[in-house]
Amino acid sequence: MPTIIVCLKQAVDVTELKVDSATQRLMTADAPRKISDFDKNALEEAVKLKDKLGGEVIIVTVGPEDAKMVLREALAIGADKAYLLSDPSFERSDTLAISYILAEGIKKLGNFDLIFCGEASIDSYSGQVGPRLAERLGLPQITYVRALSLDEDTIVAERSLEDCHETVKAKTPVLLTVTKEINEPRIPSLMAIMKASKKEITIWSAEDLTVVKARVGEAGSAIQILEVLAPKMERKKIVVKAETVGGVAEKLAKALVKDGVVGR
């Protein structure tokens, strides 16, 4: 029966982000958080495998204390155990440092068969943490998985690339990153939510993980962010109006010709 680890990120809900119009800065601190979309697909796939084969689903998150909220939701969806790797020294970690912290946490957990990650997280959208973690743990990886099956110690996965779909075989343990296409995540029932509130969330600090301080947080990050600004989108926003649809079309057509974007 497989032991499955899911790496889950508490991400900024990017559809709820507001921009401070004076400074063009994003107000990320006030934005709501949620389970990163593709990580929900990753979790769903793990829970589906457990429903079929038995075993256990463990979720791991690197994040602040309040990430407990998303871990509760993940437990309600069907995870059995949750680990929050949390320490003030982890703040501002880039993917190099996040993958290091995750790797140390997963080593402490012990044996496993599969690790699931999302193809990318919705806020930073780097798609690096999965492959970086595979590298640190010395695992084979299959990225962009859209369908899979597990038979004993063999995983068969279909992955989508730009120009083809590949069917790939590997022996466990293996790390997989999944796309949104792989499944439709379930919405937990009230019953499941109640039950989940009794499950335990374990918090591991830097000390518990015996991580090297110089390798986490800002000190352990290779990337330095100079600035994050909302792009300027200056559009004309001209409302095209007329009595009839034909009139609207005519006005629009003329404007486009005048702008030099049609008629070559």
């Binding site: 930073s124 798609g127 990225t143 290779a222 962010i225 600035e227 994050v228 010709v257």
Partner: protein, 326 residues
């Protein structure tokens, strides 16, 4: 960590040769600014005949790894070859083509070298201190982040069709057989199914007429196709039409193609940030939507509140009349 000054030179790598030419275009600008050599890493099987093309497009030097073991793409042999080459020669900058395969190699490589990697850069430049300044979209397209890498090599991945190829005449370059050992793959590809690609790459289209969930049936795309044809362009679509409805295999947006046509016509697309992230650089945007509150109107030059089933055919008629006259 090595002293930073020990690292010298700009390198490019992509398993996609066309993308590698684009990387050379940007790479030669960066190398000129730093007064260093530009090197391409060419890997694969039977790829020797590509060297002259790489030189014409700006490479001063090519490391070639041409082996049967590289006939099919696996991440382990490619990564191990790059790791060894970088350790032997210490470039300061490495640009890697941001395909789904390339991103995987870049992440593994950066981890093995304990360095950073900025993904999907849309702008690259060198500052006065000789650092690589990298910009990319974050927060689902809500913002552009500008980043630097404090460790060398500084690694960036670059998506297709962001930078121009440059062609030079009568250039000379050196081709060097790389001395590397390849790691064995740890996965096995048992089947490959080609996806039928669009006839014209949507990034190259001058005009794009795009449909979203406001288009009810796949057959209804005919009216968009007609408009696109009159405009000498191509049709495109939002992600749900590919992912949920399975009408298409590709889409435009943050997680799909990023386009920059002179004219983008959005029909029945709400304009959620992830879609807008892919059309931001369009010269003129027309939005047709029956909901006056649709967010797409916030990013449009021309706002048409109406039913696409009426507006699109009427626009075709009006344009046909106008263009025939001119």
């Amino acid at each position: 960590m090595k002293a930073l000054s020990e690292f010298r030179g700009v390198w490019v790598f992509s398993e996609n040769l066309d993308l590698m030419l684009e990387l050379l275009g940007k790479g030669s600008e960066l190398a000129d600014k730093l007064s260093v050599e530009l090197t391409a890493v060419l890997m694969g099987y039977n790829v020797k005949d590509q060297t002259s093309k790489l030189i014409e497009h700006g490479a001063d030097k090519i490391f070639i790894v041409d082996r049967p073991a590289l006939k099919n793409f696996y991440v382990e042999p490619y990564t191990s070859a790059l790791v060894q080459l970088v350790q032997q020669h210490k470039p300061e900058i490495l640009l890697i083509g941001s395909t789904r395969r390339g991103r995987e190699v870049a992440s593994r490589l950066a981890t093995r070298l304990e360095t950073g990697c900025v993904p999907d850069c849309t702008e690259l430049s060198i500052d006065d201190g000789g650092r690589l300044i990298m910009s990319r979209m974050v927060y689902g397209g809500n913002a552009i982040a500008t980043e630097v890498c404090r460790v060398k090599p500084q690694i960036a991945t670059v998506p297709p069709r962001v930078f121009e190829k440059l062609e030079f005449k009568e250039r000379k370059g050196e081709v060097v057989e790389a001395d590397v050992e390849l790691e064995e793959p740890r996965t096995e590809v048992v089947e490959t199914r080609e996806i039928e690609a669009a006839k014209v790459k949507v990034e190259e289209a001058k005009v794009i007429v795009s449909g979203g969930r406001g288009v009810e049936k796949k057959e209804d795309f005919e009216i968009l196709e007609e408009l696109a044809e009159i405009l000498g362009g191509q049709v495109g679509n939002s992600r749900p039409l590919a992912e949920d409805r399975k009408w298409f295999t590709e889409w435009i947006g943050l997680s799909g193609h990023k386009v920059r046509p002179s004219l983008y016509v959005a029909c029945g697309i709400s304009g959620v940030i992830q879609h807008v992230a892919g059309i931001r650089d369009s010269h003129v945007i027309v939005a047709i939507n029956k909901d006056a509150e649709a967010p797409i109107f916030e990013v449009a030059d021309y706002v048409v509140v109406g039913d696409l089933y009426e507006v699109v055919p009427a626009l075709s008629v009006a344009l046909r009349k106008l263009l025939k006259g001119g």
